[in-house]
């Protein structure tokens, strides 16, 4: 996959929808291409995060550790970004992410991402909106779960 293809894929993310092509290209160029084999971890729950991953191909599983061992809670396919939350809020990883099959990803370094965000004021707004959207989804899901529990 070439740099320009990566840029096209990145653009499909709501985060980066309105960022200049130049800047996206810079972000893609600054990011490293990594390949994970089936079962390899992108990161582990509890670690501090210094990078996010943009999945180019393959599927990753989200695992949360429970007293009975890790439990898969969700999965994410190509053209999605994982590990972005702990990057933005400087906290530990909330779950373990593991490659289901062979996964190709773009490793986006935290410092580089922040640098580019600084340069594009519009991008921060976009990101806030995307995250707020996710928060809305998550809390409505939570509400449903609670409702189910009470019922």
């Amino acid at each position: 996959m070439l740099l320009c293809d990566e840029v096209q894929l990145l653009r499909k993310l709501p985060y980066f929808a309105e960022v200049d092509t130049c800047k996206l290209k810079l972000l893609a160029f600054a990011s490293e291409r990594v390949t994970f084999k089936a079962g390899q971890r992108l990161f582990t729950q509890g670690d501090s995060g210094d990078s996010a991953y943009f999945i180019l191909s393959g599927t990753v599983d989200f695992l949360v550790s429970t007293p009975d061992g890790p439990v898969k809670v969700s999965e994410r396919g190509p053209n999605s970004i994982v590990g972005d939350i702990s990057l933005l809020c400087d906290g530990p990883r909330s779950s373990t992410v593991q490659a289901e099959g062979v996964v190709e990803a773009l490793k986006i370094n935290k410092d580089y991402l922040f640098r580019i965000m600084d340069d594009c004021p519009g991008m921060t707004m976009k990101m806030t909106r995307a995250i707020a959207e996710r928060l809305r989804l998550t809390s409505s899901e939570l509400d449903q779960v609670r409702a189910l529990q009470k019922a």
Binding site: M1, L26, V34
Partner: protein, 907 residues
């Protein structure tokens, strides 16, 4: 040391001085003969005296001598020679005398020089010896650079003076007295006048020189302080920049230089004033002769002949006199220097030389207890830090010392380590005061480690084994020429009062290694175990992997590295992990390596920047043209440039992405931007490339497809690059070929690091955990091969720089501790040796060290001053100090139960 330099010289060179004086006296004979000879040649054969007619012959070399008080006369009739023959014979004698005089001069000068150099060697050694014997308190107030400047520069003139110290005054004094005596013989009163004037010179001039001497002393002190200051500036460079005080230091240095200038200028003024006066006085004497002598002659009491004789005799007086006065000045000068140096090294309480006696094996019975009897200690300001402490440490015991308030524990540790001398009370090993025991006992039975550590310039290994070098234990086998050289060294050392211990001998005493019983392998074992205990092994391996070695110096090791390379590859193939590293293969394109690496298929000594000799040579581009890669490379470079300009073009020049994300800088980007905008570059004649095209080629050479992902490195181009390797290399002229070291899977690459040599390829990006996996794999392969130990050995050769500055502070602390662990002692005193380390690591290392020392069969005791009090649970006994006195003493459990203070501190 003697009070005056003359006495010092006399004490150490008396026989030689007498000898040289006699030689000088002897040399006077041919010297005066040579004076008389020209007259004989001119008067005799040339002017014809005694050769009145052609056939006359004269006897040459005839003499007769009658031995006094006997009637025995012996003589030689001589050879009868005619006029021409006599001329030749006399001239030959003249030549002979010239040669003899020259030989005498040569001999005397070398002899004096040698005498001086030996004395210089003696005095320098004596001063360093004194430095080694300074008491600890005095040592703290020393400035190393000032001491160095004294030993190196200030004593230098002593050597030059030594040869002349007695010969010169004897000789010149004799000449002056002879001249004076001759004048007195001619005329008593005129002689008295001359003697009076000489007396004035001899008395007044040295008086005037007093001030010169004082100025000389000031000059010496200020120059020495300057040396100290310069040293401070160099050592404190970091601090100076951190606090922006460089101008303060500039002002300080400038004012010191001003002071030195003032003194030196003053010195010149006086020096030449004295010279003027001296010249004047010596010219006044002839004036008096003319006036008084003339007057007497006119009055008729003196005849003209006598007056002329006196004046003639006088011309021999000022020369020796002047030189004598100069000698005296030199004497005073060196004397002042001597006193200056002397008073700096004349320290009270110097360590008794007997304490430093060389003792190859210390035969003291072991199993003695170390105890402090009513010890009080003062710090440098005189305040009492330890107050009448009595403490007993038994063999095999581990004792933690902690401070509640004050620094009693630390001070006690210093006293046990003999770094501080008790102001009252004493510390005994067995029943003897450790200050009276020779260092060969205390320095081996007690190992002291503190926060302060000093490392000597050399390799890691030299420093680790430093504590085992007490005495030469293994003689160096000298043969033939080396043997003669060594014997000469010993002879000379003895003559200059230096010890002749052999620095080339084996000084490392294996019998003092921590583990085993004195075999060389035990030392190796102790060294590795000590490194493990302080957790330094990985660091050393890392240092090794990062270093480059010269395969010619250690071909065996280089072969082992290549073996390791093959074993690693074989293991990767076995485990199906061959894709972990893309190896350098002669017939394959390495996608993770740059285009340049693929084309050259080798490593270059210098990085491939525009100033590189290879890239700035026209031959390089011609060779590219020959293999048909010039055009494709220019085109490819243009595409890369277009992309880079697009990506980085809009960024401000100080953006961190420059240099971080790309090797290019903002200027480079705008340079390429300019090149791309330029239309229709005028083409240089024949195959030469324009500067722009060369710049594009440079970009191509750095291109790595997986890194740039521009999709421009087609497989045809890759094949072409691989196919052109050989031809390209042979097309380059020999001097450029030398800059490239080609890859060969079976050969060590000398310009690459050990790691690059082992991996011999590029890590592929197909596995995100590649580095970790490779490291684990390489670790296990190297252990199986026994290569890890060899690698460690290479790491131990790492040069740690002056004072160990090439290591990190943490590494220095660990090294400091490991250095003590390697040597076997009965008592280990650790005075907060690990500041700045994480709590967790600290605890691990304390545990490791206690376990390491516990396995030694000599059952050593450990005294550890802890900054982290909770660690005291690892020790048999805890001693808690409070305000310099022992507050509590007992096992951890007891103290925890019984002492409230201790409990509060641990919690």
């Amino acid at each position: 040391m003697q009070k005056t330099l003359l006495r010092y010289i006399w004490t150490h060179t008396r026989p030689q001085q007498v000898f040289i004086l006699m030689i000088v006296a002897l040399s006077m004979v041919p010297y005066f003969l040579a004076f008389d000879l020209p007259k004989q040649i001119i008067n005799g054969p040339i002017q014809g005296q005694g050769f009145e007619d052609l056939s006359t012959t004269q006897n040459f070399l005839d003499f007769s001598l009658t031995i006094p008080f006997t009637n025995y006369t012996f003589g030689f009739g001589g050879f009868p020679l005619d006029r021409m023959q006599t001329l030749v014979a006399l001239s030959s004698v003249f030549l002979l005398l010239v040669i003899i005089n020259g030989a005498f001069k040569y001999y005397i000068n070398t002899y004096k020089g040698r005498l001086g150099e030996r004395l210089l060697r003696r005095i320098r050694f004596e001063l360093v010896d004194r430095v080694l014997r300074f008491p600890p308190r005095h040592a703290k107030s020393l400035n190393g650079a000032e001491i160095a400047s004294m030993i190196k520069d200030e004593v230098e003139p002593f050597g030059g003076f030594t040869g002349d110290a007695f010969v010169q005054p004897a000789l010149l004094g004799g000449q002056a007295l002879a001249a004076l005596f001759f004048i007195i013989l001619q005329n008593f009163w005129l002689g008295m006048v001359a003697a009076f004037m000489v007396a004035i010179q001899v008395i007044i001039i040295p008086k005037m020189r007093r001030r010169l001497i004082e100025l000389g002393r000031q000059r010496q002190i200020t120059a020495r302080r300057l040396a100290g200051k310069v040293n401070e500036v160099v050592e404190g460079l970091g601090t100076i920049h951190a606090y922006d005080t460089s101008n303060f230091e500039r002002a300080d240095v400038a004012s010191r230089l001003g002071e030195i200038y003032r003194i030196r200028y003053d010195l010149y003024q006086w020096k030449f004033l004295v010279k003027f006066l001296n010249n004047f006085l010596s010219q006044v004497t002839p004036f008096l002769f003319y006036l008084i002598g003339g007057y007497l002659t006119l009055r008729g009491t003196l005849d003209v002949g006598q007056l002329v004789a006196v004046i003639n005799a006088y011309k021999d007086l000022p020369g020796p006199l002047k030189e004598l006065i100069d000698w005296d000045q030199a004497r005073q000068d060196v004397q002042v220097k001597y006193e200056q140096v002397f008073e700096n090294f004349e320290v009270e309480d110097l360590i008794n030389p007997a304490i430093h006696t060389l003792t190859p094996a210390s035969a003291r019975p072991k199993r003695e207890t170390l105890h402090a009897v009513s010890v009080s200690l003062n710090d440098d300001s005189g305040a009492k830090v330890v107050d009448h402490v009595t403490l007993k440490i038994d063999r095999g015991e581990t004792v933690a010392m902690v401070d509640h308030t004050g620094r009693g524990a630390e001070a006690m540790a210093e006293a046990f380590g003999r770094l501080a001398w008790p102001s009252s009370g004493r510390i005994c090993l067995g029943d003897q005061d450790i200050r009276e025991l020779p260092e060969s006992v205390t320095g081996r039975h007690i190992s002291y480690v503190s926060t302060d550590s000093y490392f000597f310039h050399g390799s890691l290994k030299d420093n680790l084994l430093y504590g085992l070098k007490h005495a030469p234990v293994k003689r160096y086998a000298y043969e033939g020429k080396e043997m003669r050289q060594r014997l000469w060294e010993i002879r000379e050392a003895k003559k200059a009062g230096n010890p002749h211990l052999d620095i080339r001998a084996g000084w490392v005493d294996y019998s003092y290694a921590a583990l085993g019983n004195g075999a060389k392998e035990d030392l190796q074992k102790s060294l590795l175990a000590a490194l493990d205990a302080v957790q330094l092994t990985d660091d050393v391996l890392e240092l090794a992997l990062h270093s480059t070695i010269n395969p010619d110096e250690d071909p065996e090791f280089a072969t082992r590295v290549v073996e390791m390379r093959h074993a690693l590859r074989a293991r990767m193939n076995e485990l199906g992990m061959e894709s972990l590293v893309i190896p350098f293969q002669p017939d394959g394109y390495n996608s993770q390596a740059t285009v340049a690496e693929n084309l050259l298929f080798g490593a270059t000594m210098a990085p491939l920047n525009p100033d590189n000799e290879l890239l700035s040579s026209e031959h390089f581009y011609t060779a590219l043209h020959k293999v048909g890669l010039q055009r494709p490379f220019v085109e490819m470079g243009r595409t890369v440039a277009r992309n880079l300009v697009e990506i980085f073009g809009g960024l401000p020049a100080d953006h961190p992405f420059f240099r971080q994300v790309t090797t290019l800088s903002a200027e480079d980007i705008s340079f390429y931007q300019g090149l791309l905008q330029r239309k229709n570059e005028p083409k240089p004649a024949n195959f030469r490339l324009s500067g722009a095209d060369k710049a594009f080629i440079r970009l191509t050479l750095e291109y790595i497809e997986p890194r740039y992902r521009l999709g421009i490195l087609t497989s045809e181009l890759q094949d072409k690059i691989v196919g052109s390797r050989e031809l390209f290399y042979t097309e380059l002229p020999a001097h450029l070929r030398e800059l490239i070291e080609r890859y060969d899977p079976d050969k060590y690459v000398s310009v690459a690091t050990l790691r690059e040599n082992i991996v011999f390829g590029k890590l592929s990006n197909s596995n995100a955990d590649g580095i970790l996996e490779l490291r684990t794999l390489a670790g296990s392969v190297s252990r199986e091969l026994g290569f890890a130990n060899q690698l460690l050995k290479a790491g131990l050769d790492y040069d740690i720089g002056a004072g160990g500055r090439r290591l990190t502070p943490i590494q220095r602390r660990k090294l400091n501790l490991a250095r003590a662990l390697i040597r076997r002692s009965d008592y280990y005193v650790f005075n907060k040796p690990l500041p700045g380390l994480e709590r967790h690591t600290q605890e691990e290392i304390v545990q490791n060290v206690l376990a390491f020392l516990g396995q030694q069969e000599n059952d050593p005791a450990v005294i550890w001053v802890l900054s982290n009090i909770s660690l005291s649970r690892l020790f048999d006994k805890v001693v808690m100090f409070d305000g310099g006195a022992i507050l509590e003493e007992g096992s951890y459990e007891t103290l925890e139960q019984e002492s409230g203070t201790f409990k509060a501190l641990v919690a």
